[in-house]
């Protein structure tokens, strides 16, 4: 009887459905499909959520497991060598599994970030011994830029030295962040030797990147500064500006002839930076050329020249500064007056009264 009722009702629904116009039928079908899609999506999302929860739970357990193992391993003494070998074998085996490896790798990197001294060196050695370097290097070959950055940060943090070629390839990557990270890695890992990346650099180095590079360079303990002459003639103007900052930082005054030549460089930025460095080093030979280019320079560059000439000035330069004490540019006439005041206070009073 029940079956007859079901058959009857489905038949009724079918007849009812057939009585609709085509448009209504289509709308019904679309609604039905959407309901089915929504139900499927909810089920799918729930499954994904569950999977994520399970994965997170598993990861949490693994973190607890491996942090205990790692800490035990770190504090094992020399006479507990057997235990050391056993734990190391266990870790080597574990890193074959993706999730376990991710946990172990992150634990070592995180701990290394917080520690210094012999424990930091110990963790670097462990990272190498467990073969985790291989997985960091794999990231460098990824097609995704952010994975490459992750890899490059890992190798830098763990002081992996055999990545010169791989890193050099990335210094001209189309992604700016990756480029910056690769350039910093070159300096962090290879110190002054790493500056050779400047020979191959096709992109400009931003001011911020220059600051970061200089910050890293200042940490270099080796004081054997390389010859910076070649980079002074680079085709990349930002490389020249960066090198000029290094010339200033490391007092490379022996490059004064090269610096004087740079005053005529086509790039205004290079000219300005050079003029500042010339003033800082008090290179008297630069005075003539600075005076020569003063007239045809832009107002901003004229400020740089005046400042440099003010640093270099002696009594012979009094006529030059006198010529500019009534210059329409306030900054220029101020520098001229101030310099004259330092050089010849009495003469300045007379000229101003005139």
């Amino acid at each position: 009887m029940m079956q007859a009722f079901v058959e009857n009702s489905s038949l009724t629904f079918w007849n009812y459905f057939h009585s609709f116009s085509l448009l209504i039928k289509v709308i019904w079908i679309i609604i039905l499909i959407e309901i089915i899609l929504i139900i499927c999506s909810v089920i799918y999302l729930n499954l994904i959520r569950k999977r994520f929860q399970q994965k997170n739970q598993k990861e949490k357990l693994l973190i607890e497991k491996y942090q205990e193992i790692l800490i035990n391993y770190i504090y094992l003494t020399a006479d507990e060598n057997e235990e050391k070998i056993k734990i190391k074998k266990q870790l080597v085996k574990a890193i074959k599994n993706n999730l376990d490896r991710k946990v172990i790798q992150e634990l070592i990197l995180k701990l290394h970030y917080e520690l210094s001294g012999e424990l930091a060196t110990f963790l670097e050695d462990l990272y190498h011994d467990l073969g985790l370097v291989k997985y960091s290097l794999k990231k460098l070959n990824s097609s995704l830029w952010y994975i490459k950055i992750k890899g490059i940060r890992e190798v830098t943090q763990m002081k992996v030295k055999n990545v010169y070629t791989e890193t050099l390839k990335l210094i001209n990557h189309e992604n700016k962040l990756l480029r910056s990270e690769a350039q910093l890695t070159m300096v962090k890992l290879y110190q002054f030797e790493g500056l050779k990346f400047l020979d191959h650099l096709e992109f400009p180095i931003s001011e911020w990147q220059q600051i970061q590079l200089i910050e890293e360079i200042q940490y270099i303990r080796n004081q054997e500064i390389p010859d910076l002459t070649n980079w002074i003639h680079s085709k990349n103007d930002t490389v020249i500006c960066f090198i000029l900052k290094l010339v200033h930082l490391f007092n490379q005054i022996q490059l004064k002839d090269e610096l004087i030549k740079l005053v005529m460089h086509p790039s205004e930025k290079v000219r300005r930076t050079t003029i500042s460095v010339l003033g800082y080093f008090r290179i008297l030979e630069a005075k003539t050329i600075l005076k020569q280019i003063f007239k045809n320079s832009t107002p901003e560059t004229q400020h740089y020249i005046m400042n440099a000439l003010s640093d270099l000035a002696d009594k012979k330069d009094v006529p030059f500064f006198e010529k500019h004490i009534n210059h329409p540019d306030f900054e220029i006439n101020q520098i001229a007056i101030k310099t004259l005041k330092d050089l010849k206070p009495f003469l300045l009073t007379v000229n101003l009264n005139k």
Binding site: I71, I74, K110, L111, G117, A120
Partner: protein, 124 residues
């Protein structure tokens, strides 16, 4: 009797590592992961020395120092952990009564030496 150390730090791995080391050196170690918990444990166990991170959930290391020095009125030595760029916070910590500070990354060996030195000075 073992000297008591309260270690307030929200990085669990670092906490475990330091706890292991402190216990190896013979200290009784109480670990807490946030500032509020730190205040409760400090009040309850009255430690010989407190090691605290500056940045912690709920209450910062600075609040913990203030609580120990101003509310509990205890002169327990406090060593503060900081990271680069927290110089202002370190100065505040000192003005609130911190005894010493260590900038991360730091060496656990150095930390132990500092703890021993501080406790010797305290017990004189």
């Amino acid at each position: 009797m073992k000297e008591k150390v309260v270690l307030a730090e929200d990085d669990k791995t670092l906490t475990l590592l330091l706890k292991f080391r402190l216990e190896k050196e013979g200290y009784e170690t109480f670990i807490v992961a946030d500032g509020n918990e730190a205040k409760k444990v400090i009040e309850a166990v009255n430690p010989d020395i407190i090691l605290t991170d500056i940045m912690m959930p709920f209450s910062s290391g600075l609040e913990v120092i203030s609580y120990v020095k101003d509310t509990l009125k205890r002169d327990t030595p406090i060593v503060v952990f900081s990271v680069a760029g927290q110089e202002e916070m370190v100065l505040k910590a000192f003005s609130l009564g911190a005894t010493d500070f260590m900038a991360k990354p730091f060496s656990p060996n150095e930390l132990i030496i500092r703890i021993k030195r501080i406790l010797i000075m305290k017990n004189r």
